[in-house]
């Protein structure tokens, strides 16, 4: 769960999605501003942290990047257990990865923390020519399932910081009662914040 103190929030975030959807690339773009064409596969899991300033608080993301292969599925609960947020990543050029993303959504709905802020990221948005999953299809699915949706490109950095920024804004502010300033209710799902400022 997200916890606060002096307007700073620690939030555990987990990245889930099919093999090669771009989970590691997204997080490396967000945390280090880097992109490599052939990002090696993740073995086991990787952990990163990055701090983001939103209007009312500083959010320190503790990010778990997981291995995508189904074979390692059994390890996933270890990572999403207790997570305040999740980004489910698929590859817009790969229909199967979108189907896999849906499975993750179902699993989180049934197993995960009910207050979890969940985002759906259609990655590799730069590869428009190879697109297999339409933006509309994903948007519809996201709305139906209470997720917010962005198409991202770790390669061009498009919407990468934005998706984390959106999550940061939506995290419940659990703060001591006398401090009303931090109380932000869950916003509507799938709201686009075009002007979201990129941080760090």
């Amino acid at each position: 769960m997200a916890t606060t103190g002096n307007k700073s929030i620690n939030a555990k975030l987990v990245l889930l999605g099919d093999v090669g959807a771009g989970k590691s690339s997204l997080v490396l773009r967000f945390v280090r501003g880097q992109f490599v064409e052939f990002q090696e596969s993740t073995i086991g899991a990787a952990f990163f942290s990055q701090t983001l300033a939103v209007n009312d608080a500083t959010v320190k993301f503790e990010i778990w990047d997981t291995a995508g292969q189904e074979r390692y599925h059994s390890l996933a609960p270890m990572y999403y257990r207790g997570a305040a947020a999740a980004i489910i990543v698929y590859d817009i050029t790969n229909q199967a990865s979108f189907e896999r993303a849906k499975k993750w959504v179902q699993e989180l709905h049934s197993q995960g923390n009910p207050n979890m802020v969940t985002a759906l990221a259609g990655n590799k948005a730069d590869l428009l020519d190879a697109r297999k999953v339409t933006s509309e299809e994903a948007q519809t699915y996201a709305q139906e399932n209470g997720l917010f949706f962005l198409e991202t490109s770790a390669k061009t950095a498009s919407n990468v910081n934005d998706i984390f920024y959106e999550i940061a804004k939506r995290l419940p502010r659990v703060q001591p009662a006398p401090n009303p300033s931090g109380m932000v209710l869950m916003e509507r799902p799938a709201e686009r914040t075009v002007s979201a400022s990129c941080c760090s």
């Binding site: 086991g44 899991a45 292969q69 390890l75 199967a96």
Partner: protein, 779 residues
């Protein structure tokens, strides 16, 4: 021999003091024992050290064992009376009638030919020293062997004798002379130690070091009296050698004695003829000797105190014995055991009270332990106990030790309960400098890689590897020159047999190439139409395609667009997923294949080398993760054994799943080192010297290297994972390998016993269905 460059004058004088003291003790002992004068030399040649150690062993820790010929019978009887509280002889007849072995088929059979082994002429002809006056040799068996390592790669053979003197029966097991054990450290090793260690602890280290030098004699069993034996466990597997484990009343046991030439039945039968032996009610393979304790305990049950009990004893349901009833040496022993326990060695010496609440892994540990080893008292004293206390238990115990270190021969006269002062959990971190130095001292210096020219000296004229063990050892210490890898790897991986000739290997290459092509065609011939209806194939291919293009792309061999080697990786992996359809493809495999293809070049040869590697590492990728779980479990046991405080730290911080080491183990450190170092590390690990599971000791070595940082910064699981992942590229391989070797030697049989049988990279225990992954519905 002892003139180390970096050794200070003070340090040297202490060392000499110590050596003299040990020598004196050795001389005294030699006088007592009437040893062969050749063996009683007091120079410090390795042979001399061997002898001194054995002497120390005998005098300090085995003095409750009565010896024929040098201790008079009254003292022996008195001691037995002390232990058991009543006369032993009286009980023999009484209980003998109640428990008869004549229904035992083994026993009956042995009656027919048992005496064959007892001819007196044998003893005169073959025994180096005649039996003492009045002693009678009642049993003699050659080729009785102990295994220093789990899979008998290192062993010491010797002669087992039973000697009857008066009413007492004694056992001797003497290793054959001139037989060298590979576990020895060289003289060079000793010098190295002296140069590197802090002077205050030097005598201990020296002692420890000598224990290793003397390891062959360390296992010698001299005149062990059956009045001190609690039980004999017999193992007669259908396949493999018969062996026995003899458990002493103290709770300790001798290492399993393997009867290479048979004779377990006769041994039991002979023992039965001379002393009271009763088959255990719980286990027909356990024979209880002098089982008087149960009665004693009933009367003293109110005084029950925790005590060190060996695993074998736990199985016999033996319970605590009041400390006061034991001879002082026995108490001494317990204090050591408790000290060892203080570092929470759950699997080795559990107090009765504690074991009930212990982890569920205990049963497995017991099973494994019972199977593979229990060590002699001396081995435990010098290795585990010293090692743990000096290294792990922090200032308090280390300082206490140091206080004694000027007169290490008095070591055995420490206050009985001293060990209890050792804090259970280290509140204060051990001195990092000392710790780091000490962890580094034991591994041998690394050597230059084995080159093609030197390699040729290991081959006979037809290309057979003459001494595969020596060759593997050579590669262990230096790795292989890159040009040699193509030759050496197929042997190390088990694809080529060491005794194959060049011609045979060339022939095999042709055969295997055809075989590879046949399997490859299986997936190549899948048409587009067929693939549409073959989801598993499409998914597998898709997964492999995704992974090969991101495997080692910054390494020149795999760099650039349309790299043919990438295609080759894909073809091999896809072919493998058909060759082993149950296992299929799993992330991590491309990492394991990449260096193999780089070294071998040829596609088919790479495939078969990869197949050989996967025979051992395949379980890493099982859906149920059993291969990974057993390794992570073994790793936790080894850390518990080798660094108690670190283990406790992980325990307190919910890190005991050791999942932060997952990547290390899954792909054998492939992501942790530069490409060249990975190849070096792999060939070192594949030598299976000094352990098949050296990779686990490498894990321990790395964790120990950073233990102070981990604990000092109070890393939680997340931080730890981040930290461990971040070590990639920063670990200095050679020094870690030296540490790993040292840790492996130090852990000895305890370490081997911590690793469940069949743990990768051991070959699977069950060679029926390799991978029954019928539930594998996706990939």
């Amino acid at each position: 021999m002892l003139t180390g460059g970096g050794i200070s004058a003070v340090c040297m004088s202490r060392l000499l003091q110590f050596i003299k003291a040990v020598e004196r003790q050795g001389q005294d002992h030699d006088r007592q024992e009437n040893h062969d004068p050749a063996e009683a030399s007091h120079d410090l040649s390795p042979r001399g050290i061997d002898q001194l150690i054995v002497s120390r062993h005998d005098t300090s820790s085995e003095s409750d064992v009565t010896r024929p010929g040098n201790l008079d019978g009254t003292e022996g009887k008195k001691r037995r009376k002390d232990r058991n509280g009543h006369s032993t002889e009286g009980t023999f007849h009484l209980e003998n009638e109640l428990h008869d072995l004549s229904d035992d088929a083994d026993y009956a059979a042995s009656q027919l030919h048992g005496s064959v082994y007892m001819t007196p002429s044998d003893s005169i002809k073959t025994s180096a020293s005649a039996e003492p006056e009045g002693a009678e040799l009642v049993y003699l068996k050659d080729n009785v062997t102990i295994h220093l390592t789990q899979f008998a790669s290192e062993r010491i053979s010797g002669r087992l004798k039973l000697i009857k003197q008066g009413p007492s029966l004694f056992m001797n097991w003497i290793p054959y002379k001139g037989q060298n054990s590979d576990a020895r450290l060289s003289e060079k090793g000793i010098l190295l130690i002296i140069e590197n260690i802090p002077s205050l602890v030097l005598p201990y280290i020296f002692l420890l070091c000598m224990a290793f030098v003397a390891d062959k004699n360390l296992y010698t069993i001299r005149d062990a009296s059956f009045s001190d034996v609690r039980s004999i466990r017999r193992h007669t597997p259908t396949l493999g050698w018969q062996y026995i484990i003899i458990v002493m009343s103290s709770g300790l046991a001798f290492p399993p004695l393997y009867f290479y030439s048979g004779g377990v039945k006769e041994f039991i039968a002979t023992v039965k003829q001379h002393i009271f032996l009763m088959r255990s009610a719980e286990d027909a393979n356990v024979f209880l000797v002098n089982d008087f304790e149960s009665r004693l305990q009933r009367t003293l049950s109110s005084l029950e105190l925790p005590r060190a009990v060996s695993v074998a004893n736990l199985q016999l349901e033996s319970t605590s014995v009041p400390l006061g009833e034991l001879p002082s040496n026995e108490n001494q022993d317990i204090s050591h055991a408790n000290a060892a326990d203080a570092s929470s060695s759950a699997c080795l010496y559990n107090g009765r009270a504690r074991q009930k609440v212990h982890d569920p892994a205990r049963d497995l540990s017991i099973h494994v332990l019972e199977k593979f080893s229990l060590v002699t008292r001396f081995a435990r004293e010098t290795t585990s106990q010293l090692f743990r206390e000096s290294l792990n238990n922090g200032f308090v115990s280390a300082n206490e030790r140091r206080a004694h270190s000027l007169s290490p021969v008095d070591f055995s006269d420490e206050p009985v309960y001293e060990a209890e002062k050792v804090p259970k959990e280290s509140e204060v971190f051990p001195d990092p400098i000392e710790l780091e130095k000490m962890t580094l001292v034991w591994g041998q210096p690394r050597q230059a890689p084995l080159c093609l020219k030197e390699w040729a000296t290991y081959l006979d004229s037809e290309g057979r590897v003459m001494d595969s063990k020596a060759m593997r050892k050579r590669i262990f210490y230096g790795g292989a020159d890159h040009l040699l890898r193509k030759e050496a790897w197929p042997f190390l991986l088990g694809y080529h047999a060491y005794d194959s000739t060049c011609a045979e290997r060339e022939y095999l290459k042709c055969i295997k190439k055809t075989e590879y092509e046949t399997i490859k065609v299986q997936w190549q011939s899948v048409s587009a139409e067929q693939a549409k209806r073959f989801t598993k194939f499409r998914e597998r291919k898709g997964l492999i395609d995704k992974d090969v293009v991101r495997t080692d792309r910054s390494f020149p061999f795999y760099e650039g667009d349309d790299n043919v080697n990438i295609n080759c990786l894909r073809d091999i992996l896809l072919t493998y997923s058909f060759y082993n359809f149950d296992l299929g493809y799993c992330q991590g495999m491309s990492d394991l294949l990449s260096p193999i293809l780089f070294v071998m070049g040829d596609e088919a040869e790479s495939f078969w080398c990869f197949v050989a590697l996967m025979e051992r590492l395949g379980p890493n990728f099982n859906r149920d993760q059993n291969g990974m779980h057993s390794q992570l479990f073994a790793l936790s046991k080894l850390v518990e054994l080798l660094d108690g405080p670190l283990h406790d730290y992980f325990k307190q911080n919910d890190c005991l799943n050791y999942f932060f080491c997952f990547r290390w183990l899954l792909i054998q450190f492939k992501r942790e080192f530069e490409y060249e170092s990975v190849m070096h590390l792999w060939e070192v690990l594949w030598t299976h010297h000094p352990s098949e599971h050296l990779h686990l000791y490498v894990c321990v070595a790395i964790l120990k290297r950073y233990r102070n940082k981990i604990m000092g910064e109070q890393m939680d699981f997340d931080t730890l994972l981040k930290f461990i992942n971040g070590l990639s590229g920063k670990i200095e391989l050679d020094s870690i390998l030296r540490d790993a070797e040292a840790l492996c030697i130090c852990a000895g049989e305890h370490g081997a016993a911590s690793i469940p049988p069949g743990t990768p990279p051991s070959l699977p225990l069950d060679d029926g269905l390799l991978n029954t992954q019928l539930e594998d519905d996706i990939l």
